[in-house]
């Protein structure tokens, strides 16, 4: 069966604006925990222009279509650890990104639809976008500054420190980037990273709770658990991209000055 994802389908779903006018509150009991509430208040302090209705929604740990992604993060009080297993598909049309994400742990399972940074729709669903089968290897590779990954026709995964689809002219033509083969992480390598991040104890305890020993746990249990416990490397990368990978005399280069 063809399981390909069609960009038209993602865009069409985004434009349907599921849940428009409704509030979707976090309900897992953690929404008013001190650090999450602090996140909420910090956002509102930094954005006094937030209108009253939206401010109230944020204070009530609820999101609604029309919010920005930052408002969603603030409202639900999303810490890094809440989103480690949230994945989505992203496409673009006329340089506008359309995306949907599932797997954010807030009590109910939702799919969140975005147009660029704006939340377009919220839909309750049990569907989950699975991570790439090599996600654990990518997360570990990110610790050494490799943030962009590409499946090769040879079945291998390669990583680069520069986005191969969005790089400036000099970077592209002077080869100011690295591309390396991403190796499969052994159990020991994963555990070394967990230990370095102070998560090895939790990892062992969780495996034991599931009825496995560290030595005997199968990969299908070990990897998702490690993904849940391994934080994303900090600091997050900034927008490294400066423009399309095209020469200055091509049509695509002649864009209007960006608004930033």
């Amino acid at each position: 069966m063809d399981i390909d994802i069609n960009s038209g389908e993602i865009i069409s779903d985004c434009l349907k604006q599921y849940g428009r006018g409704k509030l979707f509150a976090r309900t897992d009991g953690l929404q008013f925990e001190a650090q999450r509430a602090a996140l909420r208040h910090a956002y509102l302090e930094a954005h006094p222009e937030t209108d009253a209705q939206r401010r109230e929604a944020i204070l009530n740990a609820a999101i609604t279509p029309g919010m920005t992604r930052d408002q969603v993060i603030a409202a639900w009080g999303l810490l890094e650890e809440d989103t480690r297993t949230s994945f989505g598909h992203v496409t673009e049309d006329r340089r506008v990104a359309f995306a949907y994400f599932t797997g954010i742990e807030v009590g109910t399972n939702y799919a969140l639809y975005f147009r660029d940074e704006t939340l377009m729709g919220v839909r309750e669903t049990d569907e989950l976008v699975p991570p790439h089968e090599r996600e654990i290897d990518m997360r570990i590779a990110e610790e050494s500054g490799t943030f962009y990954f590409y499946d090769g026709n040879d079945g291998e995964l390669r990583g680069s420190n520069v986005d191969q689809f969005h790089m400036d002219w000099d970077t592209a033509h002077l080869h100011l980037y690295t591309v390396e083969l991403i190796t499969r992480s052994s159990r020991y390598r994963i555990e070394t990273h967990l230990e370095a991040n102070g998560a090895l104890g939790k990892y062992e305890a969780e495996l034991n709770r599931l009825g496995y020993t560290v030595e005997k746990a199968p990969d299908e249990v070990r990897f998702p658990l490690a993904l849940r416990l391994l934080p994303y490397p900090q600091p997050e990368r900034g927008a490294q991209s400066e423009g399309p990978t095209v020469p200055p005399d091509s049509d695509n280069w002649r864009v209007l000055p960006s608004s930033d």
């Binding site: 063809d2 390909d4 994802i5 069609n6 389908e9 993602i10 598909h89 006329r94 994303y232 002649r254």
Partner: protein
């Protein structure tokens, strides 16, 4: 058949394709059903029910979720571009196919097919790594044209055009052998296309069919000033075009007087910007963006436009002689004269004789 008969058949095919009214679609389902049953039979497949998709997106969704039967590898071997069978490289075959395509609006439908295929999708992106249109790849990315959905699509307009091309091939030489699937796999699709069939997918239990859309044309270009230029009567998946350029719905449906000229500043596609200027009018654009002329040379003007965010930037205003409309293009802040702007634009010191 003799060469004369092939010539007459080719002429007949072209006549029937030209007679199609692109703006209205009346589907003759029984006729199409017979064609498809015979087509399946020629590959040793049993007939199966036809499910008509309500629009392009619906068809693609259904096909993507079905077990598609791959029979295209039993058809012709094509060149690397997938357009010309390797044993039909003759100019007569190619020219006749293109003529037939144009006669039946197949060129516009090919453009539409490209839009239906959509853009690539970055798969399994972590929430933490989402950065809008600067989001980086996370391993897997779809390549729409190479997905099973589009590898196994059957195109009635293409088969009809190839039927005409086969006739041209046969009459242009001697001792040539007619395509063995001509009677069942090519010629019947002329009637099927005229009867309203465009694309179809063969699955293990049904045929997913998509009718020709209703298409609005002006000077052979997709164009409609007050609604979708491409639509299916029962569907919601519409496509908006102005002068052959695929544009956002708002640009078509918003009356010119209500369009904000500043939309221009947010649009990165040069052709769409041209259509915005054409619809809004260059005078309103200059007025809304408080244009100040820095330099003028012939049909060119270097304007300083207010970007409405506290900045002003130079833009080159020029007239496109091929379509007779004005076009505005951002140039670097350092440009102070038309000559400098042209030099930057063309990477040379010479002004272009013709702007395209």
């Amino acid at each position: 058949m003799t060469k004369v008969e092939f010539h007459q058949l080719e002429e007949d095919i072209l006549r029937r394709l030209k007679a199609i009214d692109p703006s209205s679609v009346a589907i003759n389902q029984p006729a199409i059903s017979v064609t498809l049953d015979n087509y399946l039979g020629s590959f040793g497949l049993d007939p199966r029910p036809i499910t008509w998709a309500k629009d392009g997106l619906d068809a693609v969704r259904r096909a993507a979720r079905s077990n598609l039967v791959a029979i295209k590898d039993q058809l012709d071997r094509f060149d690397y571009a997938g357009r010309v069978p390797v044993e039909r490289e003759a100019a007569s075959w190619v020219a006749s196919r293109e003529t037939a395509k144009a006669a039946g609006q197949g060129e516009q439908l090919d453009l539409l097919k490209g839009l239906m295929q959509g853009h690539s999708v970055l798969l399994s992106i972590p929430w933490r790594r989402y950065q809008g249109n600067l989001t980086g790849d996370r391993g897997a990315r779809t390549s729409p044209a190479y997905t099973p959905t589009w590898q196994n699509v059957h195109d009635a307009s293409e088969y009809a055009a190839r039927a005409a091309a086969e006739c041209a091939w046969m009459r242009a030489g001697s001792e040539r052998q007619l395509h063995e699937g001509f009677e069942t796999g090519l010629l019947p699709f002329v009637a099927a296309y005229v009867a309203g069939l465009w694309l179809f997918w063969i699955t293990d239990c049904e045929i997913i069919a998509l009718s020709r859309p209703s298409v609005q044309l002006q000077a052979k270009q997709l164009h409609c000033e007050d609604g979708p230029a491409v639509r299916w009567p029962e569907g919601e998946d519409n496509y908006f075009y102005l002068n052959g350029v695929h544009v956002p719905r708002e640009l078509v449906e918003t009356p010119a007087r209500e369009l904000d000229p500043r939309t221009l500043l947010r649009e990165r596609n040069a052709q769409v910007r041209r259509e915005i200027v054409r619809k809004v009018g260059i005078e309103r654009v200059c007025e809304a963006l408080e244009a100040r002329c820095l330099d003028r040379a012939g049909d060119y003007e270097l304007l300083l436009l207010d970007l409405q965010d506290g900045r002003t930037r130079p833009f080159l205003k020029m007239k496109n002689p091929s379509v007779g409309v004005y076009h505005i293009e951002g140039v670097p802040s350092e440009c102070q004269t038309v000559a400098e702007a042209l030099a930057w634009r063309n990477q040379s010191d010479l002004p272009p004789s013709v702007l395209t």
